[in-house]
Symmetry: C2
């Protein structure tokens, strides 16, 4: 059978871009894969890793591609779309993997020639590592990928991108960009902000040394540090481009922290106990839906 995509161009060969190339190669999803990255050193690593049938630093490399997937930070879309737009062939589908969707549509759409299609996507899967060496073929397996085609998008274009992600093992869900940005604000963006914040605060305390924080991190803090080790550029861009939803969710969180603080101050154990009991149910939902493993401490005990 012919591959799902004849000519596939991946722009930005980092964690996500390289994982897509691995997955497409492993499963024969694309006829020819063009790896595009502005950094010659990254292209060299790609050659060493066997990533891409063709490699170039020039965005003109999207010429002739049936599907182009932009795997770059959320803040880079306008410039890349502008440079790439004139080279797109008629009927080309442009997709991406950006963690924010509203802003990406706003940045990209003005630069796409008539007759091309925009089907934004966001695979909800990742690690705290970056670059072409970090990718692996199974990253998207049994993870969700959210598509946010703007109103009026050609259904066939959406269907192609849906099939593309399913072929890599992902489950696909379709929703509006606005809704996506709120859902991700609470499930990803605000947790990252809070993790960065608490790790930053800990480093600044006068009464507790940084070495103590590191030594005694096993009590919960170390999970925050893992999250707070994620790529600074990627996350700066996410917060700047999902401003409204992030600030809205932070506001809600602050109200709830105020309630908890008051409960602690006044010794209201029931309020604390009730919340702590409710949150367990959500954890059970995540385990039963296969979004995480139930093993204690993620198998750290076995790693010792």
């Amino acid at each position: 059978a012919a591959p799902l995509v004849g000519r596939l161009a991946i722009v930005g060969i980092g964690l996500i871009g390289s994982s897509i190339i691995h997955a497409c190669k492993a499963r024969g999803i694309a006829g020819t894969i063009v790896a595009i990255d502005r950094d010659p050193a990254v292209l060299e690593r790609c050659a060493a890793l066997g990533l891409g049938d063709e490699r170039t630093g020039d965005l003109a490399g999207v010429a002739g591609a049936d599907l182009v997937v932009l795997c770059i930070p959320v803040g880079a879309f306008a410039a890349v779309a502008e440079a790439m737009g004139p080279h797109l062939k008629p009927g080309a589908i442009v997709s991406d993997v950006g963690s924010v969707k509203g802003s990406i549509i706003a940045q990209t759409r003005p630069h796409l020639p008539a007759g091309t299609h925009l089907v934004p996507a966001h695979p909800v899967a990742g690690t705290e590592y970056s670059g072409p060496d970090a990718g692996f073929a199974t990253l998207f397996q049994r993870r969700w990928c959210i598509l946010t085609p703007p109103e009026g998008t050609e259904p066939a274009a959406t269907a192609l991108v849906e099939g593309f992600w399913q072929a890599m093992g992902a489950n696909v869900e379709i929703m509006s960009a606005e809704h996506h940005d709120r859902v991700l604000a609470i499930t990803s963006h605000v947790p990252h902000l809070i993790a960065y914040n608490i790790v930053g605060t800990a480093a600044d305390l006068e009464t507790v040394t940084e070495s103590e924080v590191i030594k005694f991190s096993a009590g919960g803090f170390r999970d925050f540090t893992r999250i707070a080790a994620s790529d600074p550029t990627m996350w700066r861009d996410i917060f700047l481009h999902n401003k409204e939803a992030v600030l809205e969710m932070l506001g809600r969180l602050n109200e709830d922290v105020a309630i908890l603080s008051r409960a602690i101050r006044w010794g209201d154990g029931d309020t604390l106990f009730d919340l702590f009991t409710r949150t367990r149910a959500i954890r059970r939902g995540i385990i039963s839906q296969g979004q995480d493993a139930a093993e204690a401490d993620f198998g750290r005990r076995h790693a010792e």
Copy 2:
């Protein structure tokens, strides 16, 4: 050689109590182990699991013990110490594993007869599971255990408890109870409170459904849900008994969140980028000191 402890009594056979029994048995640390729990069903599980050479529901079971370790929630110490005190033999050492130290000393000391010794301890190691089935012998291996002997404590008593934890594979550090409570507020208590809080807030949103939160949790949220699945009684007690330090650290956190919110609102990417870069260094410290594994995503990718 004679075992380090002749007669050892463990009060409260939950995650930590049962882990101590497993570790002591595996390494021959105690001559006789008495397992004490108020719940007959727990004692039955202990019998089935082979936990304890003797088992009783009566605190009088501490009689004759050289070392008694209280493995009960932080809120239960006053009552248990009062009931147990009269049965302690002269020279007995009383220790514990509670996550807060100042309050435990205040609750326990008044009930200990003259000629006995109090050497509070806190192993900084755990999982989100509870009960006698959750324990395992290696829980404390290469983890820190903090001792907070009050001023004037007999050095020989402190040395015995230090040797006890080292024999189970832990590294021991000694500090004041007050300092312990601040250090743990930032490395453990506040992270747990924030995790509980964010999971609770997510469940209460009108614009995002709980099923969406569960589905798309892989973006960071699921790590918070694991922490927020910890035992409600244990954590209620921790917050009520480490009130000052927790509220102090929460106050600091709030100030820092306000700064981040402002940076997001005004599009100040440099402030965000600088913080996100600084926090990576702390993560590196934790990995290089063996407090966590460097593998991406804790091997979740391999579990698929």
